[in-house]
Amino acid sequence: MIRLRAAALSVDDCIAKIEAGAIIVLVLSLTAVTFAQVVTRYVLNDPLIWSEELARYLFVWVSMIGAALAVRNGGHFGLDLLLRRMPAVRPALGPAVTIVTAFFLLVLLKSGIDETVLASNQFAMTLPMRMEWAYLALPVGAGLMLFHLAIHVIHSPGMHILNPPTK
């Protein structure tokens, strides 16, 4: 059991590193593409037509993966007033909050997959790609958030999602 937990946590670390790497690449491309748009418009006077659409889709990816990494770090905004004032309710509320959150994420995952499938026969406006590559960010993000949430539960079942795991 203990060995299983340790394995789960090391997988979690590994996934988090991959997410951080993906965010670096995405933010870098996002900056480069948008800056290229500014340069081509104001300096070369020959604006790119595809840069804005590409930047928007990269932004959807950054947002979903960033939100996933934030689940791991306990970085999402929330009200911890009650938890701080009444520590006694913690063990009861932790699991309840986790279950409702997981339910929402499952729906986001399911509807994200549906949208992605629907978008697979739809082309982007200015890019030579199908829209499924943009929509795919939703199920991937929701899946990663569910994964980190599950690790929270394995790590300490009574723990609250607002607090980052302590090693």
Binding site: A20, I23, I24, L26, V27, L28, L30, T31, T34, F35, Q37, V38, Y42, E52, A55, R56, Y57, F59, V60, V62, S63, M64, I65, G66, A67, A68, L69, A70, N73, G75, H76, F77, G78, L79, D80, L81, L82, L83, L93, A96, V97, V100, T101, F103, F104, L105, V107, L108, K110, S111, G112, D114, E115, L118, A134, Y135, L138, H160, I161, L162
Partner: protein
């Protein structure tokens, strides 16, 4: 609709992150609304994030991360000190002016509080300020700083209400200066009462030196606002130019940004943007539900029919926003209340630029409102003073700031003047 709202409140009180609480509560509403397809969840989330205006958010966050290195904070604070350190009220005025500079670079109020606070609080304590008093001044100044563009709150408000973000930015300038003047006056009274010393006047030669040292940092807001107000850049484009500028200055001129610092800044930017965007996505599902339910429209009609005019509604807005934004960390509170309050404001004929600036002003107060404001806890962490000790000094400042918010609510030309001068606003 009512069920969703009640559930949302229950989830939030139970400590569920607000983004998930909004989404989960909306799901229940969708389920009750038979025939509403679940696809709405994904399509509304995607639709909210897939927006070029909101792309300004990660860029302004990143530019702020890159400009808030120790060296730049020190240079801007030194500049503020030689400019206004001698004015009665002493270091308090320095904090305010440094915050004006800083907020002009960064779009995040919490980051401003941390950057200016980490330099000024030790200096103020050395000069004999009580830690609670010093923290209160930093908190009040950071609350003022939210009005100085670039401001993430304005980006979000503008993109959701379809109000020009450039106009909102321009509209924030004069209220920021009025707020600064009001707080300086307040500090002056404090100085007379508490016997706070001012610093000796600094010769012009030294002021010139401080300006030169801070020159590259100060050029950034000039580029951003020159570009946006002159109609050259969209706010998103100005934000990306700010990022590139910050990278060049940080790596080549001030030499404080190392490649590994840059990579960490990228990751932090991605995570912060993710948190904000997921929130905007879930709020968009919730907003859809509200609109479909027809409750906001009915409420708006009822308020208009009741004969309550603009002034009453403005007062009501301020009274509702103040505690709500404090409890829900600012932005989430705003996203939640907008689908209800903005249609009413429109029905009453309140200009949405004016309404947005009033909302932003109140948020500056709320973020530091004891005992829950998130910004306040950042300042407490830096000052080491207790909540009670800081609140004793802070509450009078927050009262002054709320009074200024009311003044802005009743004198709309304070908001319109600058946008009008730059041709971004035409009076009706």
């Amino acid at each position: 609709m009512t069920a969703s709202l009640a559930l949302f409140l229950a989830f939030v009180i139970a400590g569920m992150p607000i983004a998930f609480a909004l989404g989960a509560a909306a799901l229940v509403g969708l389920w009750l609304l038979e025939g509403a397809p679940l696809r709405i969840v994904a399509s509304r989330t995607f639709g909210a994030i897939d927006n070029f205006s909101l792309l300004a958010i990660p860029f302004f966050i990143l530019a702020g991360e890159l400009m808030e290195t120790g060296g730049i904070s020190h240079r801007l604070v030194t500049l503020a000190r030689v400019l206004v350190g001698h004015v009665r009220g002493g270091l308090g005025n320095v904090v305010l002016v440094a915050m004006l500079f800083f907020s002009g670079i960064s779009g995040s109020t919490n980051a401003d509080a941390a950057a200016v606070g980490s330099v000024m609080l030790p200096a103020m304590k050395r000069e004999g300020y009580n830690a609670g008093h010093a923290g209160a001044i930093v908190a009040a100044a950071a609350g003022m700083g939210i009005l100085v563009p670039p401001c993430l709150t304005m980006v979000v408000y503008g993109s959701i209400t379809n109000t020009s973000i450039a106009t909102l930015f321009a509209a924030g300038f004069l209220p920021a200066l009025v707020m600064t003047a009001a707080l300086m006056l307040h500090l002056r009274f404090d100085a007379l009462r508490l016997g706070v010393k001012s610093e000796p006047r600094v010769p012009w030669r030294e002021r010139g030196k401080a300006v030169l040292a801070a020159f590259w940092a100060l050029l950034l807001p000039v580029i951003i606002f020159g570009g946006i107000l002159g109609g050259v850049f969209t706010p998103t484009e100005a934000a990306v130019v700010a990022v590139i500028y910050a990278i060049i200055i940080g790596m080549m001129v001030y030499r404080e940004i190392t490649p590994s610092y840059l990579l960490r800044a990228f990751v932090r930017t991605g995570v912060t943007s993710g948190v904000v965007m997921l929130l905007i996505g879930s709020a968009n599902i919730f907003a859809w539900l509200m609109t479909v339910s027809g409750v906001p429209a009915a409420l708006a009609a009822a308020i208009v029919a009741s004969g309550a005019g603009k002034p009453l509604f403005m007062m009501l807005s301020i009274l509702v926003f103040l505690p709500l934004f404090a409890l829900l960390d600012g932005l989430p509170g705003m996203l939640m209340i907008m689908p209800v309050f903005v249609p009413i404001a429109q029905q009453l004929g309140i200009d949405l630029v004016h309404y947005g600036i009033v909302m932003t002003t109140v948020m500056g107060v709320s973020l530091f409102l004891p005992p829950v404001g998130v910004g306040l806890y950042i300042v407490l962490g830096l000052s080491g003073a207790t909540l009670g000790e800081t609140s004793r000094y802070l509450l009078p400042y927050l009262a002054t700031m709320t009074a200024v918010a009311a003044v802005i609510a009743f004198l709309p030309w304070l908001v319109y003047l600058v946008p009008y001068l730059f041709g971004l606003y035409t009076p009706r």
